[in-house]
């Protein structure tokens, strides 16, 4: 299946629009009437207290959940109800709040697995590991090694990721998402549980990805300092509703945001 042809997007165009999206699980309403957009090549932060519906929002964007109401437009095309793998093939990659790596595989294989959708050689060649299959394997290996160098994880290339410390696992997960060469990268709390140094590294990677490749990034993060530094625009959720939207400075001064975070040390 080929993705439909989209107009070429330039920086600043709306890449993804969320309009009046609501999502419910039985009785629980995780999202209520949320609207915002993500523009090409920006870093868009989604913040909010615990249980505000941030992860649910990402899940809607990449097709893991289908909104009960409202619509999502990606590259100017309204998203039909689709399976998550179709969203991935359409150019959306993500990392997860609780690391979801393939834990028995090595770092290298995890990131290689991220390139599965880019690999084309057929079953027959795979069977004999010859011709296009091995050529492709080497080509993609080269690409993956670039990611590994970029993320500075050469030394754990062959280590099964299950044995890595948490901070490195998060980094491998970012590598795996990057391997998909996504147009839109969704990061769910990429720095949770990290120490200051690790956070600085991760921030650097995020900025570099954004600047070097122009990848659009949607980022959930609790650390306000990080959010203010990294993001171009911020959307704030509380109890499943959007309470503010704007540049970091605007949001920081918004009374409802201050209330929502009152007493919470961030």
């Amino acid at each position: 299946m080929r993705a439909p042809d989209h107009p070429v997007m330039t920086k600043g165009d709306v890449l993804l629009a969320v309009e009046n999206v609501s999502l419910g699980f039985g009785g629980v309403k995780a999202l209520t009437d949320v609207s915002f957009d993500i523009r090409k090549s920006e870093i868009r932060a989604i913040i909010g207290p615990n249980g505000a519906g941030k992860t649910s929002m990402l899940n809607c964007i990449n097709g893991f959940y289908y909104p009960t109401d409202g619509r999502i437009t990606f590259k100017g095309v309204r998203r039909p109800k689709m399976r998550p793998y179709e969203a991935a093939r359409g150019g959306i990659a993500r990392t997860f709040q609780n690391v979801a790596l393939f834990k028995s595989m090595s770092t290298l294989d995890n990131i290689m697995a991220g390139r599965s959708i880019k690999m084309r050689s057929n079953f027959f060649w795979q069977l004999f590991r010859h011709g296009p299959a091995i050529k492709e394997e080497i080509e993609h290996r080269r690409f993956v090694e670039e990611i590994i160098d970029f993320l500075e994880i050469q030394h754990i290339r062959k280590t099964p990721v299950g044995r890595l410390p948490y901070g490195l696992q998060k980094r491998v997960e970012l590598g795996r998402a990057l391997a998909m060469e996504p147009e839109l990268l969704l990061l769910d709390e990429p720095m949770a549980g990290m120490n200051l140094e690790e956070k600085e590294d991760m921030s650097r990677f995020i900025i570099e990805v954004n600047q070097q490749y122009g990848t659009t990034i949607a980022l959930i993060e609790h650390d306000m300092g990080v959010v203010m530094d990294l993001s171009d625009r911020v959307v704030v959720l509380e109890y499943g509703r959007k309470i503010a939207d704007g540049t970091p400075d605007e949001v920081k001064r918004d009374q409802r945001v201050i209330d929502a975070y009152l007493g919470v040390a961030h």
Binding site: Y85, F102, K103, M105, M112, F123
Partner: protein, 361 residues
């Protein structure tokens, strides 16, 4: 000092992506294959017929199940039935088209079990874990019923059993009463080596990574663009292909004939046990597991009566069969507790120790 990683620098990704990057490993594999062929000329008929041929056949079936359960994480209790599909398909094909060489039909029969396997794999999109295991029981019991109730499958022969007709390769009988254990062993060995090589290529490439991704974290795999249904169905099909070929070999090159009952649920379980004990997700483990589970009763049958006879206790074959069940059952629990990665992991640890020898780490 013979087994060393040092000094073998991988200068390019081709070498580093090889399945056996170490020269010693490649030489080792070569030697084992050579020895296996030499055995055909050195071993006696008993060894070949009663030990080696079944060991290879079960190894092949274990590789099949390992692809599904070990690599893709889908538990199946229908292995016996999928083996049966291969055997019955092979029988129909070679009796309907006796002019075509039987080796061709052995390989083709696997496609029939692959198709049936994929069909019964369809529910795997919606159901997981033990629900899926129960669903595969449907395959086991339904297919076994077909083997009994459809006389067409055995060409309406009155005994209802499969028998191996005489078939030759280059004028030498390889199947049927006149085929010597030596020749049959060589045929089985060659087929198993070939199919093992292909399986190894698959699991080390893109497809293998997709299977393992589904096993380790299916939701994340899907969110990375891996199509769950296709990937799982492919695992079912490939796995059943291997089981099907193993089933055909079992009936026609080992037993020389068999009834539907060899494909019963116990067979399914014993193959599963081979996979668990050998190591889930390891091809070499499939051989270890098959060796342990299959050779165990043979060893028991020789050792136990010898040990007990001085005490005036005679050990019948039924006792040995019961002990086999007990020991296998206990081994399963033991391995799941102590080494869930099975004999293959022990093997790997041994090799790593050897690499580092004489230093402990």
């Amino acid at each position: 000092m013979l087994y060393r990683e040092a000094g073998q620098f991988k200068t390019n990704y081709v070498a580093d992506s090889a399945i056996f990057p170490l020269r010693e490993d490649r030489i080792g594999i070569g030697l084992i294959i050579l020895a296996a062929y030499a055995l055909a000329f050195l071993g006696n008929s008993f060894l070949l017929q009663a030990v080696m041929i079944p060991f290879l056949v079960f190894s092949l079936a274990s590789i099949g199940l390992n692809i599904l359960t070990g690599y893709t994480g889908l538990l199946s209790l229908g292995t016996g039935a999928f083996m049966g599909v291969g055997a019955y398909a092979c029988y129909k094909l070679m009796t309907a088209f006796p002019g075509v060489n039987v080796i061709v039909w052995i390989f083709v029969s696997g496609f029939f079990s692959a198709g049936i396997g994929a069909l019964f794999g369809l529910p795997s999109l919606r159901i997981k874990g033990f629900y899926l295991a129960v669903a595969t029981l449907a395959a086991q019991f339904f297919l076994q019923w077909c083997f009994i109730r459809i006389p067409w499958l055995v060409n309406y022969n009155v005994s209802g059993a499969l028998d191996a007709p005489l078939r030759t390769l280059f004028g030498v009988p390889i199947m049927g009463p006149n085929a010597t254990p030596q020749v049959r062993y060589l045929v089985v060995l060659t087929i198993v080596i070939l199919l093992t090589w292909l399986a190894s290529n698959l699991v080390h490439g893109r497809i293998g990574r997709m299977w393992i991704a589904i096993r380790d974290m299916d939701l994340a795999a899907e969110l990375m663009g891996i199509r769950p249904l296709q990937t799982k169905l492919l695992a079912f099909a490939v796995s059943s292909y291997y089981c099907g070929v193993a089933g055909a070999l079992l009936v026609f090159l080992w037993y020389g004939g068999a009834e539907y009952d060899v494909f019963n649920i116990n067979q399914s379980f014993f193959i599963l046990f081979m996979v668990i004990i050998g190591g889930l997700g390891s091809l070499i483990g499939s051989f270890f597991g098959a060796a342990l589970i299959f050779i165990l009763p043979i060893v028991l049958g020789i050792v136990l009566p010898a040990v007990m006879s001085p005490f005036g206790i005679t050990v019948g074959s039924d006792v040995i069969e019961h002990l086999r069940f007990m020991i296998v059952g206990a081994l399963i629990i033991f391995f799941l507790i102590v080494e869930p990665h099975g004999l293959a992991r022990l093997w790997q640890i041994g090799k790593q120790k050897l690499l580092a020898w004489p230093f402990p780490y």
